[in-house]
């Protein structure tokens, strides 16, 4: 099983426990140790096939890196926004446009948003989904903050209100859509292959 690539301890321990139980059962039925072991290992099945099935569940040790990547992507959409919003604010208030943080922030936000969409489509672990959902709500809320701030500031004109409202609506739609997809995407049927890695 190790040479076939099933390296995470939990599946290995389970398969080992199963093998031992089956061998014991064979020995109780009167078979010799060697024959019992051969029958039991044959019954377990092809390691490569088992590894392929475990890969679909994400239990070959790749769930954590994927979850971390998705969380970084969420953080980056906020980072991109925190570069774009001040640049736009300075441009509006002082007429000074700093292109570098604006373009860098837009690029970062788009790349990160694309990574979030990809990660949401391939995420299968229910525990990781809870963490990701929490971060999505936090990221979405970040973009709603300007709207709340505008409510408390007296000098905001209609253009400013419109911008904040559109930003908040877009954020809620994007992150809300990602949340919906995260919890309602259909799981692949047993036996069907899907590229998740």
């Amino acid at each position: 099983m190790l040479t076939a690539g099933i390296q995470t301890p939990v599946p290995l321990e389970e398969l080992e426990a199963h093998l031992r139980e089956d061998v014991e059962q064979q020995l109780r039925s009167g078979l010799g140790a060697q024959q019992a072991f051969e029958i039991s290992t044959a019954r377990i099945g092809e390691p490569a096939l088992i590894r392929t099935e475990f890969k679909k569940t994400g239990t070959t040790g790749r769930v954590m890196p994927r979850t971390i990547a998705l969380l970084l992507a969420l953080f980056s959409t906020v980072l991109g926004g925190s570069m774009v919003l001040p640049a736009l604010g300075q441009w509006r208030n002082r007429g000074v446009l700093h292109l570098e943080p604006l373009l860098a922030g837009i690029a970062l936000a788009f790349i990160a948003a694309g990574a979030v969409i990809y990660g949401v489509r391939t995420q299968r672990g229910v525990y990781a989904r809870k963490w990701i959902s929490g971060f999505m709500i936090a990221a979405g809320s970040f973009y709603v903050v300007p709207l709340i701030q505008a409510f408390f500031l007296s000098q905001v004109d209609w253009a400013g209100w419109l911008f904040c409202a559109v930003l908040a609506a877009a954020s809620v739609s994007f992150y809300g859509g990602c949340l919906y997809r995260l919890w309602h995407s259909p799981a692949p049927p047993i036996g069907e292959s899907r590229q998740e890695s």
């Binding site: 599946p11 389970e14 139980e21 377990i44 092809e46 099935e53 475990f54 569940t57 239990t59």
Partner: protein, 110 residues
Amino acid sequence: MIRKELVAASAEPLILALLARGESYGYAIIQEVKARSDGKLQWTDGMLYPVLHRMENKGWIKSRWAESETGRKRKYYSLKKDGKTAMAKHQAQWSLVHSVLAGLQKEQYV
């Protein structure tokens, strides 16, 4: 011999139904399925565990390690609330397919 597609499709509802009766572990689940089907439903033993892990990832079942009677570690699985809902959906779908097939078979002999 039962087609592998049917064996694969029936794995989840069978596991859910077995766990609805009480906590169990992988080896016992396979033995139970073999016994109930008179050996006609032959699962490849190792292939059960990815299915169990997938169901655990979906939040349908939970697991715990415990000691068996022989002192060895064994992983037990039990049904969660979402698993009961999933089981009910599976059973409704299988009942539907069965009722359509049964109806068609009845018509053949009328």
